[in-house]
């Protein structure tokens, strides 16, 4: 396995409370589900891996480069260019139409507006959002809004997508649909996926499950079955937006595509 992102010996304390007590996790071009009871430290782990929080101990490396020692400005740029995020809800700007919400990360990266919107639109069909480009988040259902969020997370072609209970606010059927789209879309775009979930069935679409309890990793192992449970293959999104994003070979050095499995570009 080519490790893309690796956290080792991660410790995080909030006052006297220990949220992470030495956690290690390596992700390499796969989909990893993080599971565990409430308050066990899943979100904290995700935040440390994504460079949102600085851990009190241990280190985080993206393609060998230390993330946890970077200054906030650099980590912010890293999050913008190399990571994608899907949260439970609320990450879409309510006043922007869906397509502009998706185009925003590209525009932040300097892509001209027309080009950014054009590239954003390419995601709508494959994600089953055809015709919803001009709608506001408030005019979308919860599942549709999450699919827009998925497009937004992937539009910059990040190395890793982080998702914290992305389907927590959806009903089970919609949640499963959305989750599968997320997994397939990240795979199709050669990105790794780290997803926090409570739903064991959701975890099954991932390649691997990591069990966190009291700030420690309990057990890890491949999901029983995954991608082909319903006979669906990982078609979809990656077929649509074919043009490589501006970050496909970003300044950080080696193009991500080289170390990702299934890199076909």
């Amino acid at each position: 396995m080519n490790v893309v992102l690796e956290g080792s010996g991660l410790v995080k304390r909030f006052g006297p409370a220990v949220a992470l007590a030495g956690v290690g996790l390596a992700v390499g071009g796969e989909a990893v589900a993080i599971m565990g009871p409430s308050g066990s430290g899943k979100s904290t782990l995700l935040h440390c891996l994504a460079g949102i929080m600085k851990p009190d101990g241990g280190e985080v490396r993206l393609l060998g480069q230390r993330v946890d020692t970077m200054r906030e400005r650099e980590r912010s740029a890293l999050r913008r260019t190399r990571f994608g995020f899907v949260f439970q809800f609320g990450q879409l700007l309510p006043e922007l139409p869906a397509e502009e919400n998706v185009a925003l990360p590209l525009m932040l990266g300097g892509v001209r507006r027309g080009e950014a919107v054009r590239r954003a639109r390419e995601w709508f069909g494959p994600l089953g959002l055809g015709g919803m480009e001009g709608r506001r988040p408030g005019e979308l259902s919860g599942g549709q809004a999450q699919r827009v969020a998925i497009a937004r997370a992937l539009v910059t072609r990040p190395a890793v997508v982080f998702a914290d209970e992305p389907t927590g606010a959806l009903d089970q059927a919609t949640g499963h649909d959305t989750m599968r789209l997320l997994v397939e879309a990240t795979r199709g775009n050669d990105a790794s996926l780290v997803v926090v979930t409570h739903d064991p069935q959701v975890a099954r679409w991932c390649d691997r499950t990591v069990e966190v309890r009291d700030g420690r990793v309990l057990a890890g192992g491949p999901a029983r079955d995954g991608r082909d449970r319903d006979g669906r293959d990982r078609g979809g999104p990656h077929a649509g937006p074919g043009a490589p994003g501006p970050y496909a070979g970003h300044a950080q050095g080696e193009p991500v595509t080289q170390v990702l499995p299934g890199a076909d570009r």
Binding site: S76, R79, F83, F85, P94, E95, L104, L108, R136, P137
Partner: protein, 683 residues
């Protein structure tokens, strides 16, 4: 109801640090509004007070068949560049109530000085002022009879048959009233006082309308922040009545605190405000204290209005529990709003210099409200244009946000827009100060009966030389009335400008050394001459052209002062409202901002978007309302535009813009702090 109140109080206190911050913002807004509202109310009461205290010096003749209690004559005298109001009183009926400010009826040969006059008379050489009042000083005129603390007033007792009390009317009604038989010392407000009251009323409208708009916006702030929580309450089954009552109670608790703080602030500010000079003098502290009834009325009305405004803002949530949870494409503002403005503007040309102050105030108020109606429409328009043409993310965010909630954006800039309107209106109206040239301050003039002209000329020369004043005395004019002209500082017999049109009593070419500039005279010498000539013609004083211009000079100064006061108030409103709306919009959107930042959006972009959100509408609306203000001033414009004044006002407006931009920037640290939370949750 008390249960609701208790729950509201707990909600208010339990809102956490940010909830309290939000309530604090509202309280600050209400405090500033209350303070300025009290000021606006007091300003009217203050002018009313001045008018009332001055009324007794504007005697009303006793009606036919009514027994007169006294004879009263009022004359305006001058010392240096100030008025001295001289009131001569001859009591006809003992037992009449004394004039205001006097402890008893004056006897002939007695004089009462106002404190300022007494001090001035002591300070200047007797020959310049004190000698005009040879009477025995019997007391001090009380404050209740003075327009302002610095006013120079003398009240003299006279015998009913003294020359002063039997003199004929002065040539110019502005310099005084002829002796009148009055039924009592009450009188009626002078026309000047009424004019000032009318101006104060207009100024009040200019200040109060933006204040109300601002207060309403502040109230809706509370609601906006509570939206989610209340919608949640509604979802768990609170009845609309309960939600409304709780919101109203919460807003009113906050507002009551703010209003109280505002009243205290205003009280602390009174000593500073009394120093604002209008109509030649500062104010009594009691003038600016609105009194218990007005204060309690304001203190009661402000929380009520805030509560009402909050309830109106709540309508949406009460109608649907999902209310604000769903964000949809907002319907565009209706064009009717602009039509309202156009309609209001159409009424403006009907106004004119002759229109009653009340009508002007109403039309101005309407235009004001219409601007406030049209504002959101224009902001929405600006938003659509900005969004369409935006290249970068900041412009796009700003444009979409403006389109999404034009009302919110308007709230941020409405203050400056309103101020722009005021500035445009007053700025265009202020007459140029150059209108009044350098008037002759050295030639005293006194109208004399033709028959006595030569006798009086001789006596004047005598008196002047006795007072050791070098002056040339001559008589000008035709017919029954002649003008005795006394050119102070010129050697007797020295020719001058005045001689050219004279009747030949003196002559000779002007001498270069004879004081070429007519205006430049020794003020002390002029006052000595005035004093020497005092009583030469009973009931009449000698005046220079500069003296006669004094009312105009004062009026110009007052317009300038009024403009500065009104603009200061509006800018205060504008800056505070901009700061508060900016801060509250950060609070309202903290989750979205935090998630954006979490996903790596640079704060710089968010800040730039927020700046554009304010500055673009600010520039457009500020400029637009200045133009509307100028348009509204057109019907009243009597003189050429005062370029200097306009420039000063534009500088003021620019300062206001800077203030608003600064107030918006002040919320940047707040943005930093709310987005620092790595795990933002909706509360």
């Amino acid at each position: 109801m008390s249960g609701t109140l208790a729950l509201s109080w707990r909600l208010l206190r339990g809102g956490g640090r940010r909830g309290l911050l939000g309530a604090g913002l509202t309280a600050v807004a209400v405090a500033v509004s209350t303070m300025l509202l009290l000021f606006a109310v007091s300003a009217n009461a203050a002018f009313q007070g001045r008018a009332d205290r001055e009324a007794w010096r504007n005697p009303v003749a006793a009606g036919e068949g009514t027994a007169a209690a006294a004879v009263q004559a009022v004359r305006r005298d001058y010392v240096r560049d100030r008025y001295v109001t001289v009131v001569d009183v001859a009591v006809l009926k003992p037992g009449t109530a004394p004039p205001p400010g006097l402890d008893r009826l004056p006897e002939p040969g007695e004089v009462w000085f106002s404190p300022a006059l007494a001090e001035l008379a002591r300070g200047l050489p007797a020959g310049e002022l004190a000698d005009r009042f040879p009477e025995r000083i019997a007391g001090t005129v009380g404050d209740e009879a003075l327009v302002h603390p610095g006013e120079l007033v003398a009240v003299r007792g006279q015998a009913p048959d003294s020359p002063v009390m039997t003199a004929v009317a002065a040539a110019d009604p502005r310099t005084g009233t002829a002796p009148k038989r009055v039924a009592g010392f009450t009188g009626s407000p002078t026309p000047d006082a009424q004019a000032y009251q009318a101006l104060a009323l207009i100024a009040t409208v200019l200040m109060v309308v933006p204040l109300l708009v601002f207060g309403g916006a502040a109230a809706r702030l509370t609601v906006a922040r509570r939206d989610q929580r209340l919608a949640a309450l509604r979802l768990v089954g609170a009845t609309p009545g309960q939600v409304v009552a709780m919101t109203a109670a919460e807003a009113m608790i906050t507002a009551a605190g703010g209003a109280l703080a505002g009243a205290v602030l205003y009280g602390l500010l009174i000593p500073v405000l009394t120093r604002i000079e209008i109509a030649g003098g500062p104010w009594f502290a009691s003038d600016l204290w609105p009194g218990v009834p007005y204060t309690s009325a304001v203190l009661a009305a402000v929380p009520l209005l805030v509560g009402l405004s909050a309830v109106v803002g709540l309508r949406r949530i009460v109608v649907s529990p999902l209310g604000v949870a769903r964000r949809e494409t907002p319907p565009a503002m209706r064009f009717v709003r602009v039509l309202a403005l156009l309609a209001a503007l159409a009424a403006v040309p009907a106004l004119g210099a002759g229109a009653a102050a009340g009508v002007v105030a109403v039309v101005l108020g309407l235009v004001f409200l219409a601007i406030n109606l049209a504002g959101p429409w224009v902001v929405g328009m600006i938003g659509r244009i900005t969004a369409r043409t935006a290249r970068g993310p900041a412009g796009l965010l700003a444009g979409r946000r403006l389109t999404d909630d034009p009302r919110a954006a308007w709230r941020t800039v409405s203050g400056v827009a309103m101020t722009g309107f005021v500035a445009g209106f007053i700025g265009f109206l202020s007459p140029a100060s150059g209108l009044l040239g350098d008037a002759d301050a050295a030639t005293l003039r006194l109208s004399v009966p033709a028959a006595q002209a030569s006798r009086l000329t001789a006596e004047a020369r005598e008196r002047l030389s006795a007072a050791d004043v070098a002056a040339r005395v001559e008589v000008t004019g035709e017919g029954g009335r002649r003008i005795l002209a006394v050119a102070v500082g010129k050697a007797a017999g020295d020719g001058g400008k005045a001689a050219r049109e004279d009747d030949g009593t003196s002559g000779g070419p002007a001498r270069a050394g004879g004081g070429a500039g007519p205006a430049r005279a020794d003020a002390a010498a002029v006052d000595r001459a005035r004093t020497a000539l005092d009583g030469l013609v009973p009931g009449r004083g000698a005046t220079t052209a500069a003296d006669e211009d004094l009312p105009g000079v004062l009026l110009l100064a007052d317009i300038g002062t009024g403009t500065v006061v009104v603009l200061t108030v509006s800018f205060l409103v504008a800056v505070v409202s901009a700061g508060i709306t900016a801060a509250s919009s950060v609070l309202d959107r903290r989750q979205t901002y935090a998630l954006l930042r979490l996903a790596g959006t640079p704060l710089k972009v968010l800040d730039r978007a927020r700046r554009a959100e304010t500055l673009i509408p600010l520039a457009v609306m500020g400029g637009g309302s200045i133009a509307v203000g100028v348009f509204c001033a057109l019907p009243f414009s009597v003189s050429a535009v005062n370029a200097g004044g306009m420039a000063v006002l534009l500088v003021c407006v620019a300062l206001g813009f800077a203030g608003v931009a600064g107030a918006g920037a002040a919320s940047a640290p707040l943005l930093r702090s709310v987005t620092a939370d790595p795990a933002p949750r909706p509360d």
